[in-house]
């Protein structure tokens, strides 16, 4: 006996097996990201006053990245529709754009990560807080391009106010012997950065995985189009469903992390 409904849909459910599978998988993904979003809420509500950063991320860059992903979502649908119309060349063109969009997204995201890893906060022994991009760092001194922060209402709030007043700040030289604590805006900087890197990192992994699957179907896996066109179209559809989900996660991530 062969496994039924691998290609053609079952009458009473109207679905083929893989489609049921991907929807179930996406349901569990909703719970995975849902748990992280819930954690975001609990961490934010529980944060000390003035310690939850706002306006920290670059909104224009985030907007561009959002548009890149939305564009890829459109091309995925167009590609699948072209395939259903037997237009393989058009399908290949659209899906190539999808994969390029995915690379563009990950590229822009890495630039944002790089920006955060070179963004430092220094607390001196006399209690002053400095914040800015690392200019240079030697054994004797640290040079930052940024501000001295008024941390009386919380460090994050102080950074926000200073950046609002003067975007670029000035060059600050701090002696290593004066430094009590120095660290970049990596995951351990505060709980906001922790959840930011966890959420966007996990999302980026999904983008990369989705792009790899789509690229595999597009090039090495394309032989199936000749032998089993219907099954091939199903594969494209299922990978597309996953891709839409990945985009949708970003549609929630963008306002939560960048705007709110």
């Amino acid at each position: 006996m062969e496994i039924p409904y691998t290609v053609e849909p079952r009458k009473d459910t109207g679905l083929y097996n893989a489609k049921v599978g991907i929807w179930l998988f996406l349901a569990s993904e909703v719970m995975l990201f849902g748990a992280l979003f819930s954690s975001y809420i609990l961490l934010r509500v529980g944060a000390d006053v003035g310690e939850w950063p706002r306006d920290l991320l670059n909104v224009p860059i985030g907007t561009v990245n959002t548009l890149v992903l939305i564009c890829s979502s459109v091309t995925v649908v167009l590609g699948w529709a072209a395939l259903k119309q037997n237009n393989f060349a058009k399908y290949r063109m659209f899906q190539t754009i999808t994969v390029l969009c995915a690379f563009a997204f990950v590229g822009i995201k890495s630039f944002e990560y790089y920006d955060k890893f070179t963004h430092y906060q220094v607390i001196t022994k006399d209690g002053k807080v400095y914040d800015g991009h690392l200019h240079s760092r030697t054994a004797e001194q640290v040079v930052l391009q940024g501000h001295e922060i008024d941390a009386s209402k919380g460090k994050a709030e102080g950074v926000r106010k200073a950046q609002k007043a003067d975007k670029h700040g000035k060059e600050i030289v701090i002696k290593t012997s004066d430094i009590q604590k120095i660290g970049n805006y990596g995951p351990k900087h505060n709980t906001y950065m922790s959840i930011y890197f966890t959420l966007t990192g996990l999302h980026a992994l999904h983008v990369i995985a989705g792009a790899l699957v789509i690229a595999y179907i597009l090039w090495p896996g394309a032989r199936m189009w000749k032998t089993e066109p219907e099954r091939y179209a199903n594969r494209v559809e299922v990978s597309g469903l996953f891709w839409h989900f990945v985009d949708l996660v970003w549609i929630f991530l963008f306002p939560v992390l960048y705007l709110l």
Binding site: I3, G21, S28, L32, I195
Partner: protein
């Protein structure tokens, strides 16, 4: 008469099957079936995509871990009863493996914590869930719904491999410097993060693998049950076991990802030094920890128990399903209230997602939240009681066959009943204040899982063994196994209720000796000598329970080649489709697609020739 006739008919089927199987090409165009006859040992038994082989893989691995978990607790029980004395038999081995942690064969508190954490982890995630869901689900569900295999056979194989990898990581963690995780199976932060060593990191990596495995399994099971039901197998004709597995699949699918998220965050706390679960001002080792702080220890508990409570139903629902099948077959009458059973299982599935915080009454999360979760907890006991009542009433008026599987299934009912009812005082937050974190809790959930679920799983082993191997397990050994286990289980867990109500706390490596009145005279609320003395009796009873498993282990292996051969493909004269296949079922299970024409439990149908009518046959 009918019995002999059906036997020979099935015998012919079997011959046809074997010849057809040898010649016909088994691989289909989609490449989802490998050619089983052509593959070597590796392909047939290790990298198999056949649901039955994967089921057996799951079963054997899980039974091994059931034994491992039992050995861990035996060492701990010795330490509880005789703190500071060398462990007999295993003491030398522990010293050579763990060095200072078990010098002279004596268990140190650190080793006790490690074994405690790993006993829980192994029993829940490596033994019982894989046995209940992975093994019985894989073996039985596709057969019962009349499917040739699971919907995604290769995903099924990967699911087992992820599980095996998770098992390896967990086992290896015992032998790394510092040893395995020590923060309990619940791994509460900040304790889990603060304990030095790599044990907790290994635990988390292992858990991510196990969660991936159960995620793949759950997707596969649900898709299989939705898509691959044989023609005529409508939802209300599904055997009860399939319903139980269906709901279990959803629980695993939706409850595990939050723990995966929590696991990733705790891993980040451990490796990247973030502060998801570490509050501001946390001191580690007497000094202020060098962390940003601002995290929430309660967040971990919420995420953990959001999995943890549905997980309880993952442990119990397949067991209830197995008991339902065995009760119907061995009372020779339909399950009483099939629809009530199905709706109750569905109700449990839904409600189990909104009861988790009843594990957290004492965390200070607030009385309003406690009240909500207390209410939902009381509500979920209703469908549980409906299920138990239906199964009890099913016995009424049946002509019961007291074979080994039925004995285990019958014992399940009162044992699970005791476990469930003793949970009610824990579900009320005012009585929980007294009982929280005592041996009462241990007794409660072990009554649910040990003489409850494990008895049902053993019943399932005895019941489906003839289908897998073509031979029965030995009845005499089986009955010895059953009666001694039943007595042993109750002697182990019943005294713990008393100890717990008297105030003996869990997780004390000396069994509460420090707190006893014997050691500190006039201590207020100290434990009496009787309570402490009970530790010794319980340990002896656990020894009896260990001895009771020896006949089972012998029986399990001996019967593979020496057991009584089955007279037909349907040795228990059961109605469900799993018994309407050749024995053992070939790759692809059924020779032709079965057409289902009736409900799952048409036993003793008036006017029928035999006292059972299979789902795919007319009377």
């Amino acid at each position: 008469m009918k019995f002999a006739a059906s036997g020979s008919q099935n015998g012919e089927n079997r011959m046809q099957t074997s010849s057809a199987h040898a010649h016909a090409p088994t691989g289909d165009a989609h490449g989802s079936h490998p050619h089983h006859d052509e593959g070597g040992f590796l392909k047939k038994y290790v990298f198999s995509t056949d649901h039955k082989v994967i089921g057996v893989q799951y079963g054997i691995t899980a039974l091994v871990f059931l034994l491992v978990g039992f050995v861990l607790i035996m060492c701990m029980r010795w330490q509880i009863a005789y703190p500071g004395k060398a462990i007999p038999v295993l003491g030398g081995l522990l010293t050579s493996v763990f060095g200072d942690l078990a010098s002279g064969g004596v268990m140190t508190p650190d080793l006790y914590n490690m074994f405690g954490a790993m006993h829980g982890t192994i029993m829940v995630f490596l033994a019982i869930v894989p046995l209940a869901f992975g093994a019985f689900g894989n073996l039985v569900v596709p057969l019962q719904i009349g499917a040739p295999d699971m919907a995604f056979p290769r995903v099924n194989m990967v699911s087992y491999q992820c599980y095996a990898a998770g098992c390896i990581v967990m086992v290896v963690s015992f032998f790394i410097p510092g040893g395995a995780a020590q923060a309990g199976w619940t791994s509460y932060s900040p304790l889990a993060t603060a304990i030095p060593g790599m044990g907790q990191t290994f635990w988390l990596v292992g858990m991510v693998l196990l969660i991936t495995s159960s995620l793949l399994g759950a997707v596969n099971f649900i898709a299989t049950i939705i898509q691959l039901r044989a023609p005529g197998m409508t939802w209300m004709r599904l055997p009860f076991f399939v319903w139980a597995q269906f709901v279990t699949g959803f629980l695993l699918l939706l409850a595990f990802p939050p723990l995966e998220a929590a696991g990733l965050m705790q891993l980040a706390d451990k490796v990247l030094h973030t502060s998801f679960f570490l509050p501001t001002g946390l001191a580690m080792g007497g000094e202020l920890a060098n962390i940003s702080g601002g995290g929430s220890p309660l967040l971990w508990q919420h995420l953990f128990w959001f999995l943890g409570h549905p997980e309880v139903y993952v442990l119990i629902l397949p067991a209830i399903g197995i008991v339902g099948e065995i009760v119907a077959c061995n009372t020779r009458k339909p399950l009483w209230g099939y629809k009530s059973l199905v709706y109750s299982v569905l109700a449990i599935g839904f409600i189990s997602f909104i009861v988790w915080a009843h594990h957290m009454y004492l965390t200070g999360m607030g009385t309003k939240i406690s009240t909500f979760f207390q209410t939902t907890t009381m509500i979920i006991s209703i469908p549980s009681v409906i299920i138990l009542t239906c199964l009890f009433i099913s016995l009424w008026g049946g002509s019961i066959r007291f074979n080994t599987p039925m004995l285990f299934a019958l014992a399940f009912l009162p044992m699970f009943g005791i476990g469930g009812l003793t949970g009610l005082p824990l579900g009320f937050n005012y009585s929980d204040i007294h009982l929280h974190d005592t041996y009462y809790v241990i007794a409660h959930f072990h009554y649910v899982v040990a003489p409850g679920t494990i008895f049902a799983l053993l019943a399932g082993v005895y019941f489906w063994y003839p289908k897998v191997t073509g031979r029965y397990m030995n009845e005499t050994l089986g009955k010895i196994h059953f009666w001694v286990s039943l007595v042993g289980m109750n002697l182990v867990f019943m005294p713990m209720f008393y100890q717990g109500m008297s105030g003996m706390l869990r997780r004390m490596s000396d069994g509460g000796a420090m707190y006893s009145i014997a050691q500190t005279p006039n201590a207020i609320g100290g434990l009496s000598a009787t309570i402490i003395k009970l530790n010794e009796y319980v340990t002896h009873a656990a020894g009896l329970l260990a001895l009771a498993q020896i006949p089972f282990i012998i029986n399990f292996f001996w019967s593979i080649s020496n057991g009584k051969k089955v007279e037909s493909d349907n040795p228990w004269q059961a109605t469900t489709l799993d018994w309407q296949t050749p024995t053992p079922p070939p790759h692809g299970n059924f020779e032709t697609v079965p057409t289902v024409v009736r409900g799952p439990y048409d036993y003793s149908l008036p006017g029928a020739k035999a006292d059972f009518v299979p789902q795919n046959q007319n009377p």
